[in-house]
């Protein structure tokens, strides 16, 4: 699942869907952390990886356009 999301993020031409895939990847790994008894890391990953990173990426493509040129 992680691999599929990661590959999609890396291969897609449309950056926005890549970013969404990356966010989903983060969220999914947060779930894995939770299952591995690491609640602290899970919260951090969800807040930072899925939240903050996605916001910054979205800000970036607002400036540059969605096309990966």
């Amino acid at each position: 699942m992680l691999i599929a999301l990661a590959s999609f993020a890396l291969l897609s031409r449309d950056l926005l869907s890549g970013i969404i895939a990356l966010g989903a990847f983060s969220l999914f790994s947060a779930v894995i952390f939770l299952l591995s008894h690491a609640p602290d890391v899970a919260i951090t990953e969800a807040a930072v990886g899925a939240g903050l990173t996605t916001i910054i990426f979205v800000w970036a493509i607002r400036h540059t356009g969605r096309d990966d040129r």
């Binding site: 602290d40 890391v41 807040a47 939240g51 903050l52 916001i55 800000w59």
Partner: protein
């Protein structure tokens, strides 16, 4: 410039993968020494029930200091590049909208959506802020802590800003306040690190009788600093140019 053919690329990656295979797949069992020590003393030495917090803010608080500084400088570096972008786009006089809320003339067409967004974010903001503070203050007992709570506080502040799009003139004041909060929190953190040096002779050691106080204090400072820093960066990112 030379180009790598696709088969060559894959071959190189695959060879590297094989060479690193043993590191990933070694059968040795995970060491337990550190865990056993911690399970024994962490609570009594640092006063935190959450052992991860005990390490993060007790045993290895110095790493955490480094981490907050990484955050501090990375954010200030990002913001300086962002302000550079704004300046450049002003120079070229290209209308770049850097705003999440809509322009005045468009607002009429999307009144419902805009209104909904503003009301919801404006009302949810305080609740999220409160939750963030809760996470910060309970970091030594339950999962969470300064950093996680700080990120939540930041999202609360951003919601506030999104909820009040008309008061642009206050933006400068907000920004100064956030800068002040960030710097003061950093000051407090640094004080918390250095004051014990003169009391107990150690850096980053607990100077208090009661164990929890020190870890809660560190959590609070980090939470404030992270919250202010992240929201500052996000605000400068979403703001319309030239505010």
């Amino acid at each position: 410039m030379r180009k790598w053919s696709v088969p060559a690329q894959i071959a190189i990656s695959f060879v590297l993968l094989l060479l690193f295979l043993p590191l990933f797949l070694s059968q040795e069992s995970w060491p337990t020494t550190a865990r056993d020590i911690l399970a024994e003393d962490a609570g009594t030495q640092t006063g935190a029930e959450n052992i991860v917090s005990a390490i993060y803010l007790g045993y290895r608080a110095f790493d955490t200091l480094g981490e907050t500084i990484v955050l501090l400088i990375a954010l200030s570096g990002t913001m300086s590049v962002v302000s550079l972008l704004k300046r450049n786009s002003e120079d070229e006089r290209t209308p770049v909208s850097l705003d999440f809320s809509l322009e005045e003339e468009k607002r009429a067409h999307h009144r419902l959506r805009t209104h909904l967004l503003e009301v919801v974010t404006g009302k949810i903001g305080p609740i999220i802020l409160l939750f963030g503070f809760y996470v910060v203050m309970n970091g030594h007992l339950s999962p969470g802590g300064g950093f996680q709570g700080g990120a939540i506080i930041a999202s609360g502040i951003i919601f506030f800003v999104l909820g009040n799009p008309h008061r642009r003139e206050e933006s400068e004041i907000q920004r100064t306040t956030l800068h002040l909060i960030e710097s003061s929190a950093f000051l407090l953190f640094l004080l918390a690190a250095l004051v014990p040096l003169f009391i107990t002779g150690e850096v980053l050691a607990n100077p208090f009788e009661s164990k929890e106080v020190y870890i809660i204090a560190l959590n609070t400072f980090i939470g404030l600093k992270v919250g202010a820093g992240i929201s500052l960066m996000c605000i400068s990112m979403i703001e319309r140019r030239n505010v």
